[in-house]
């Protein structure tokens, strides 16, 4: 497949109503998906949930499918403690859905025994989901955020 053909496909997806197209040609599989912002009305949850739940699809060419079909990378709590979304109750949250983050950006604070741990992002990407409520306890390894990596 040459670059012109690839360009055609990208334009096709861009102009059409579909959000994703998958083409297999001569053993090469190409997935083109429209980038964020995701429309709130899209029936994402129904599609997303089974993908996460079932590891069955991982048999395919994993390097390709990981980056294209995975709805985003989950960021897990590195420690147990109380989750805080902002530096203080009166300030703006560290991150909001749709925000772009880069490695080293502070995502939240987790407090244990009055040790305030700022949790830094290890990835670049866009925040798709925030999975926990401000001020609640989180367990070790509990998913906190979904970030669409770029």
């Amino acid at each position: 497949m040459n670059l012109d053909r690839l360009r055609e496909i990208i334009v096709l997806v861009e102009e059409s109503g579909v959000s994703e197209i998958e083409i297999e040609e001569d053993g090469l599989r190409i997935v083109v998906r429209k980038d964020s912002p995701r429309p709130a009305t899209a029936p994402e949850p129904q599609i997303v949930a089974p993908v996460i739940a079932s590891p069955a699809t991982s048999d395919e060419e994993s390097t390709v499918s990981d980056t294209t079909e995975d709805p985003g990378q989950k960021i897990h709590a590195p420690i147990v403690g109380t989750y805080f979304s902002a530096p203080s109750p009166d300030s703006d949250p560290f991150i909001t859905v749709g925000q772009r983050v880069k490695p080293g950006d502070v995502l939240c604070i987790i407090e244990a025994m009055k040790l305030m741990n700022e949790i830094e992002s290890e990835v670049s990407g866009v925040v798709l989901e925030i999975l926990v409520e401000n001020g609640v306890p989180v367990e070790f390894d509990q998913p906190l955020f979904v970030i669409e990596t770029t």
Partner: protein, 311 residues
């Protein structure tokens, strides 16, 4: 009044513990309604006294003394980011924007209290940094208990110090956890009300100082040096025998064996129960109606009808 320029103050040369020089590149802080009341000569006397009397092996060296900063934790953090070593101490005669947990303000008047921060690097600690917050609280308790044996001093989990029902010392640790899930460093910030006479707002009811409790003034540097020595000892203790430390700690824990309420911050759920003790990690074990619960964070208030003791 927009900003004030801090006059040249005393700083140690990095990497040469205790060696002092004047740094003309003092930073500018935006501190409306605050003035620099301490001149650098007086601060140098304080720093000299500190250097002469410090007894520790590594904690508290090197050190930087400044007359006025926004927050010693922020200054220590900036220092750590450019290589400030484990044990380094940042002391401020006055803190304009000292903070406690969740945006609370730590009020200090100039030149009367102890406000300082220490850089702790995890590679120098053979214990979990979480337990250090308890060790710091206990070290402060022990320091005060030794100097003032007649006062009713207790620890409020995890590391506040109460004299009677009022708080005289607070400790806040801040650290960041990055990509490799390792602690790069933590900043241990400590405030002790020493010679403050008046407190405003709610603090009038909930805060106290050593002067108010004893009726006379106390030497801040003497207290600082004694605390650092005690903290070094306690860090060694928890590196070896955690259980003996936890037993001692529990022995002076306010509310041990009685009912407390742990309020979460920012509107999270509260937990009520009887304090059973402290786990190996420093968490509080509570007997609740639904069984034994381990709590990692929260704001202790006592359920015996006394007022909310949190500042």
């Amino acid at each position: 009044m927009a900003a004030k320029i801090i006059p040249p103050v005393l700083r140690p040369r990095w990497g040469v513990p205790g060696s002092l020089f004047y740094d003309m590149t003092s930073r500018i802080y935006d501190t409306p309604d605050k003035t620099v009341t301490q001149n650098s000569d007086a601060l140098q006397d304080v720093a000299n006294m500190y250097e002469r009397t410090l007894k520790t092996d590594s904690l508290g060296r090197p050190f930087r003394f400044e007359s006025l900063v926004a927050s010693t934790n922020d200054m220590a953090r900036d220092w750590a980011l450019v290589g400030g070593p484990h044990g380094a101490l940042f002391f401020a005669d006055e803190q304009a924007q000292g903070r406690g947990r969740r945006g609370r303000v730590w009020q200090t008047q100039p030149g009367v209290n102890l406000t300082f921060s220490l850089i702790l690097r995890s590679e120098f600690l053979s214990v979990d940094i979480g337990l250090i917050t308890l060790a710091a609280g206990f070290a402060m308790f022990k320091t005060l208990r030794t100097l003032f044996p007649t006062l009713n001093i207790q620890i409020k989990w995890p590391n506040d110090i109460l004299i009677g029902p009022r708080k005289c010392s607070g400790i806040l640790l801040e650290s960041s956890i990055g990509a490799d899930r390792s602690d790069k460093f933590a900043i241990l910030g400590i405030g002790l009300n020493v010679n403050q006479i008046t407190f405003s707002g709610d603090l009038e009811r909930t805060a106290t100082s050593l002067l108010l409790e004893t009726g006379h003034r106390h030497d801040r540097i003497g207290l600082l040096v004694a605390f650092l020595d005690e903290l070094e000892t306690r860090i060694l203790q928890i590196s070896g025998d955690k259980s003996s430390f936890l037993k001692e700690y529990e022995g002076h824990l306010a509310g041990m064996g009685s009912a407390v309420r742990l309020n979460s911050f920012d509107g999270g759920p509260a937990v009520t129960g009887k304090i059973l003790g402290i786990t190996e990690d420093g968490c509080m074990r509570l007997q609740t109606l639904s069984g034994v619960q381990v709590v990692y964070a929260g704001d202790v208030t006592f359920e015996d009808g006394s007022d909310d003791l949190e500042l």
